[in-house]
């Protein structure tokens, strides 16, 4: 098989890098040139084999662990932070509600102090008698405290 100067152009032909006119010329040449025909078959075989491997990978799972989550917060972290924010909000609403019906002094308190302040708030209403005590409380506070504090205790204050 003699060496043909066009063999090296065939690689560009198979890669789709030659203009249409030259592509036609090269293919026509290869039909009559044993060396080029041989090379062209190999190049096309390689390309076919390479193409058959393409597009079979499963890669969807890679994005979930890729950049956006890596740079931001993970879903579980976001959930925990959200829960913490809701808890803080609930606590602060309760605290403001207590403050709004109290003397307005909303200093730093411990858990124990919170309960004492609650009783102080309750005592302001001076309910007259035992079982009717809760009915005398302001509507918003009645449900909040009467469930845990006996009406008789309130009455005794």
């Amino acid at each position: 098989m003699t060496h043909c100067g066009r063999v090296h152009q065939l690689e560009a032909l198979v890669a789709g890098e030659v203009p249409e006119g030259l592509a036609y010329e090269l293919r026509s040449h290869a039909e009559h040139c044993a060396r080029c025909r041989h090379e062209l078959k190999w190049l096309e075989t390689e390309r076919q084999l390479a193409r058959r491997r393409a597009g079979r990978d499963e890669v969807e799972h890679l994005w979930r662990e890729a950049l956006p989550e890596r740079r931001g917060l993970k879903p579980m972290t976001r959930g925990l932070l959200g829960l913490a924010a809701v808890l803080l909000l609930v606590l602060n609403v309760g605290r403001v509600a207590v403050w709004a019906h109290g003397d307005g002094a909303l200093g730093t308190t411990t858990d124990d102090e919170w309960s004492l302040q609650s009783f102080d708030v309750m005592s302001r209403f001076e309910p007259p008698t035992g079982d009717a005590a809760c009915s005398r409380l302001q509507p918003g506070l009645a449900g909040f405290h009467c469930g845990s504090v006996p009406a008789s205790f309130i009455a005794s204050r």
Binding site: W42, L49, R52, A54, L62, P68
Partner: protein
Amino acid sequence: MLRLLQRLEPITPDTPDDALVRRAQKGESAAFKALFERHVVAVRRFARDLLRDAQAADDATQETFTRAHVQLPKLTEAHRVKPWLLGIARNVAFEARRLHVHDELDDDAGVPDAVLPAPNPEAVLLDAELERQFADALTHLSPTRRAALLMRIDHGLSYDDIAAAFGWSIPTVKNEIHRARLALRVRLAPHLGAL
């Protein structure tokens, strides 16, 4: 205002790479995700071909896109994003295997410049076993040569792009790919003889 309108422009499969790169460079995460979706299959396959391990390829792919995201502002030739990504993937894979770019360049043993029987490209399409043989033959190439060959025949990179990715001259790229092809053909020829 023009920038805002550009960012509101929907991303479609026809949106060119360079437009996606420019939008991603301006901080549009959807554009970067589109680049990821467009190139992740090729990057992952390339990494797997170099590392020969699925889990390692997954890790290398993620690392490739992590680095790409960090280095994206430095990418000036936005239309060459695929060669750029494969170049990063090659670096990541070589680091993972503790190889260097110029390792194993001299594996010419057993690569005769001989005339081999011609295969039949149409028959190749019907032969599943040959695909396995092809994958096996690739593993016998040095990582560097394998990377260069696959960049060309699998991922369609130009010699210019491969030369840029490897820091080689174009004649070196052509020589390496030529030798890789010969080695590949020597291994495939026995399986193609009956075709």
